[in-house]
Symmetry: C2
Subunit: 326 residues, 2 copies
């Protein structure tokens, strides 16, 4: 915040009014070509940069979007943020990012910060199943991606997410076709997601006439700390011949534990793909989320809602692509 040269300086130098400078620099059609040129030259010479904050406050629009994610180090959110930034910047918006680490307080603080920064809209991957979003957000448009808000208010917001049931079903299906008979699942800590993925798991079992076993259906902690131990439990104690990890952080936990186990015959499946899986000795069947698409749809919908807050809310459900890897 050190650009001390303002529209007034340009106006004085050019011998015109501030209004004319503003018009010229904003390409208003109603300014004489000669004037515009002179003004532009002078602005360049002075190294003038318009003060976007002043403009925003005046036009009541910041051209900034806020994005709330658990952790950008998680590959899914890295890719999502990139996609969102790309689409947003194409539309003349930039993006403010806050990492919550699944922490409700951090999320609340982040949202507040963004509201103060007057973001035009918010893209949220929720950490808080119990957060009162309508109260927090006020009239600021928001779309939820991947993680849904609490069930009682979910219909008040636009949502963009993957088809968890189908994606999971395809993976389990593939594992079964390749001979798996007893497939353990380490499910996500995110409840809405977990419910759907478990459902896909059960559907695939049913379709193959395999009966589910509660003993081999477990749920990871949010921080993933219990995943290695569960891996052992399922693959060794419970003698599973395949293991399904419900997201990429869970799979990372599984991979950490594997070498200790000295197993030879078992299969692996995971929701969320990862380019590094290609380099691993053990093939992993995955459901690859259309992350770029998720981001694109989310931003487009958000901007549409910014332009028209009367839009009915909607859920966008995108298909996951199975990557068999054999």
């Amino acid at each position: 915040m050190s650009t001390n040269i303002t529209i007034k300086d340009v106006a004085q130098q050019a011998g015109v009014s501030e209004a004319t400078v503003s018009r010229a620099l904003n390409n208003s059609p109603q300014v004489k070509q000669a004037t515009r040129l002179k003004i532009q030259t002078i602005a360049d010479r002075l190294g003038y940069h318009p003060n976007g904050l002043a403009r925003s406050i005046r036009v009541q629009r910041s051209h900034t979007l806020g994005m709330i994610i658990p952790d950008i180090l998680n590959g899914f959110f890295t890719q999502l943020s990139r996609a969102i930034e790309d689409v947003a910047s194409q539309a003349g918006y930039d993006v403010l990012i806050v990492n919550t680490d699944e922490h409700l307080k951090k999320e609340a603080k982040g949202i507040n910060l963004m509201l103060e920064k007057q973001v035009d809209g918010l893209i949220i991957t929720s950490a808080g199943a119990f957060t009162d979003y309508p109260k927090m957000l006020g009239h600021t448009p928001a779309v939820f991606v991947d993680r849904m808000p609490p069930a009682n208010i979910v219909s008040q917001y636009d949502r963009v997410l993957v088809d968890n049931i189908q994606g999971t079903q395809d993976i389990i299906d593939c594992l079964i076709k390749r001979g798996a008979q007893r497939i353990g699942i380490i499910n996500s800590a995110v409840s809405a997601t977990a419910t759907e993925r478990l459902q896909g798991y059960h559907r695939a079992l049913a379709a193959a006439n395999l009966s589910p076993d509660p003993d081999i259906e477990v749920t990871a902690r949010t921080d993933g700390s219990n995943v290695p131990q569960m891996t052992r439990q399922l693959l060794v104690n419970q003698k599973c011949d395949a293991l399904f990890a419900a997201d990429n952080t869970i799979m990372t936990g599984v991979l950490t534990k594997l070498p200790d186990l000295h197993l030879t015959h078992f299969q692996l499946g995971a929701f969320d793909d990862n380019e590094w899986f290609n380099f691993l000795p053990q093939p992993i069947v995955t459901a690859k989320q259309p992350i770029a698409e998720l981001g694109r749809v989310a931003v487009e919908r958000l901007l549409a809602r910014v332009a028209n807050d009367q839009l009915p809310t909607q859920e966008f459900r995108l298909p996951a692509e199975i990557i068999p890897r054999s």
Copy 2:
């Protein structure tokens, strides 16, 4: 930008002046406890959020930092951005990120955008060896991380980066100790970095009385497209018994090619560590950058300069840690 309730509304409801509300909400000591309480209650009830833009424009400080990076999908920058966000947010700043894809135009556009958004300072990992930063940046403080600005202006800015020479030397050293006699290098496309890493490479060779061979010193394209072919060239045609990749994207390219080559005895080294390397069948010796430290130092220095623009510019050189992996 939909918060239509302002300080004025709170003032009216509370029966005080706007000034008093402002003071109360900013914890000015000179406002009566009772007044402050009443104001805070009313502000809460109304769901009042201060307009940060208006404040910024008034106090001439945005409490926002800008960050220019090539691509957040590159693990190094993912981690760097996280570190920077953490330190910045701790200090009450948030950060705006722009990806340049090593594109000069995108970088210029991004910097302009940030100047318009009135960022208090900029953290830059430069794409442009030929960019005229002093002209672009004006008086906005900037610190360069990892990628340095052009040599003729480098001393005008603070810089934070790793000890490339030592890091590389340690890796090559380790490879030699383990028996390597002919170590190929695929160097970085970033010239300043490449120069230093090559120097470390040569030093290690010299220390072991191995003579360098220009035929096995090659440089990757910025987009890494020629890396797979170079991998084959060095490991097969040139019969290298070890390969050093000068950064993590290069190593990814190497790994892509390896399976085709069906080689059994060779070693791998790389600058930049990656958690996924732990899961690979082939051990990789790396120099792990202190990324969190780089980010922390960069933000701290930047904020120090924001507070005092008379600070002499300085270079911060941090050590890399060798991860031998055998």
